[in-house]
Amino acid sequence: MKVKKKVLNTGVFITFMGPSLFAFTCVLLIPFLYGVFLTFTNYNPIKGTQSFVGFTNFVAVFTDAEFLGQFVKTLGYVFYSTIFCNLLAFILAFLLTGNIKAQNFLRGGFFTPNLIGGIILGYIWKFIFANVVTQLGNTLEFKPLMTSLLTHPDRAILAMIIVTVWQYSGYLMMIYIAGFVGIPKDILEAAQIDGADGMKKLLHITIPSMVPSFVICLFITISRGFMAYDLNLALTNGGPYGSTRLASMHIYQKAFQANQYATGQAEAIILFIAVAIAAVSQVLLTKRYEVEA
């Protein structure tokens, strides 16, 4: 009897857990562990080498001025797009939660860019920057707009930030709206009775009670910023002169174009650590807030 129950349980385990666990293990778990292992080897499928080399790859990464420069550029891109995305999203959410006509239409409109993939968005904006904005500059005889942002090595990253803000603000706006709606009405009313004006209510009640929304939104923008690839590829393709090549694109090119697989993988692990730090801080922040509340 007992033996039969055990067989039955194994059967249930295989039926319910088997497919999920198998796919997860083969696609994510094994490649990830193998990937960590690869960073300590000189793996190169084209030369056919794979022997243990210790920390050589990491040393190579940290002495690679190009990668370091692009990593710093990625940090800058993540920083500015995070700030502007969240600022705009918060303002939009604030404006679209009060008494306003056609609320759903407006929310839906701002959300639209988020439905479309980075490749397509990148191409749309390539036209906008290269043809539409320059035409506008010529018509208005306004010099800064006459040449495309995408042709300036020192300013092309701005184009990436603009499109990122355009792409994600509507999405973050929805999360902030959910946060606004979740604030208990009676607290706001009590503040009103106590004589708090709009600004005071915003600073002392609304913003403090929306800390969870801020944490979620910051995490989303930071992690997506580090992983940005599609938009980068379609909009600037890393150019002009490699000035907008962000970390993901660098890793891709290192591995699949320069065939330095192990070094590329070491860079990928560094990217993973950056994202992991953002994620762990999110969890810690949320926990800390929950304790205080």
Binding site: F16, V27, P31, L92, G108, L115, V132, A178, Q265, L271
Partner: protein
């Protein structure tokens, strides 16, 4: 009086912002009917005449129907399989509170922070060695693997609140665990199933990097891949490219018009869970 003026300023500000948000799409649509020359000289004017020539060119050159069909098949099969396998796994993990279950669940949740770039190189190397690349079934299997963690996480949170008694009733009546799952539990999951469905459709439909590594032959390309190669090979003649963009985003926009409420709800639920 002061309030009224304030109200007007607010509407004015919001609609200016909305126009800035929507204008890129409108410009694509307007200009997709023009010749390249017309577009370059006056991108803001309405087209001189409505000509679908650019659409015909884009449709044939990017092999649109083929890309659309590939995207549809890959997205549909992957999403159905993700939902089935992850909901069953979550059910098992919730109902069997063993140490193994806890370890499995913790591993899945932890894996959500691994960026795709961190597994991309070993993935290509492993599956390339086994000659599993250049095959849409391999891609579907990979989506199945990458989709597990998030879907299990969402289902797990919901199944915890499904009362055990209803399932036990089926078991007492002589049914097995599969029957009790599909008859009782799965239908109750519908609200979260919709959330997972929408998020996974958006993810897989728009994904570029993974299919670009797995699908190598032109006939297997999904829509983002065929758009990319279309832009690589016809970069001088803008007009058909814009028609290509409109063609690619049209299915998504149509779906959005009909299911706006569910899509927004799904995306927000997925983020705040």
């Amino acid at each position: 009086m002061g309030n009224k003026v304030k109200g007007w300023i607010k509407y004015f500000f919001i609609y200016i912002l909305l126009i800035l948000f929507i204008v890129p799409f409108l410009l694509m649509i307007i200009n997709s009917f023009k010749t390249t020359q017309e577009f370059v000289s006056s991108p803001f004017s309405l087209p001189a005449k409505i000509d679908f020539g650019n659409y015909v060119a884009a449709y044939t050159k990017m092999n649109f129907l083929n890309g659309f069909a590939n995207s549809l098949i890959i997205t549909f099969i992957s999403v159905v399989l993700i939902i089935l396998t992850s909901s069953m796994a979550s059910h098992f993990l919730v109902r069997n509170k063993t140490k193994t279950s806890k370890v499995i669940f913790a591993t899945l949740v932890a894996s959500m922070i691994v960026p795709f770039q961190a597994v991309m190189i070993p993935l290509v190397s492993i599956y390339g060695n086994m000659k599993f690349l250049n095959n849409k079934w391999s891609l579907i299997f990979m989506y199945l693997g990458f989709g597990q963690a998030f879907a299990v996480f969402i289902f797990h949170g919901f199944i915890k609140n499904v009362p055990l008694e209803m399932e036990e009733a089926v078991l007492i009546d002589g049914g097995n665990k599969l029957q009790s799952f599909f008859k009782i539990v799965f239908p109750l999951l519908t609200p979260v199933t919709v959330t997972v469905l929408i998020l996974d459709i958006l993810w897989i439909w728009n994904d570029y990097l993974l299919p670009s590594l797995v699908l190598l032959s032109p006939l297997q390309r999904t829509l983002p891949l065929s758009t990319y190669s279309f832009f690589q090979s016809y970069s001088v003649d803008y007009a058909p490219l814009m028609a290509g963009i409109v063609l690619t985003i049209l299915p998504v926009l149509i779906a959005y018009v009909f299911c706006q409420k569910q899509i927004i709800k799904g995306v927000v639920q997925g983020a705040i869970k």
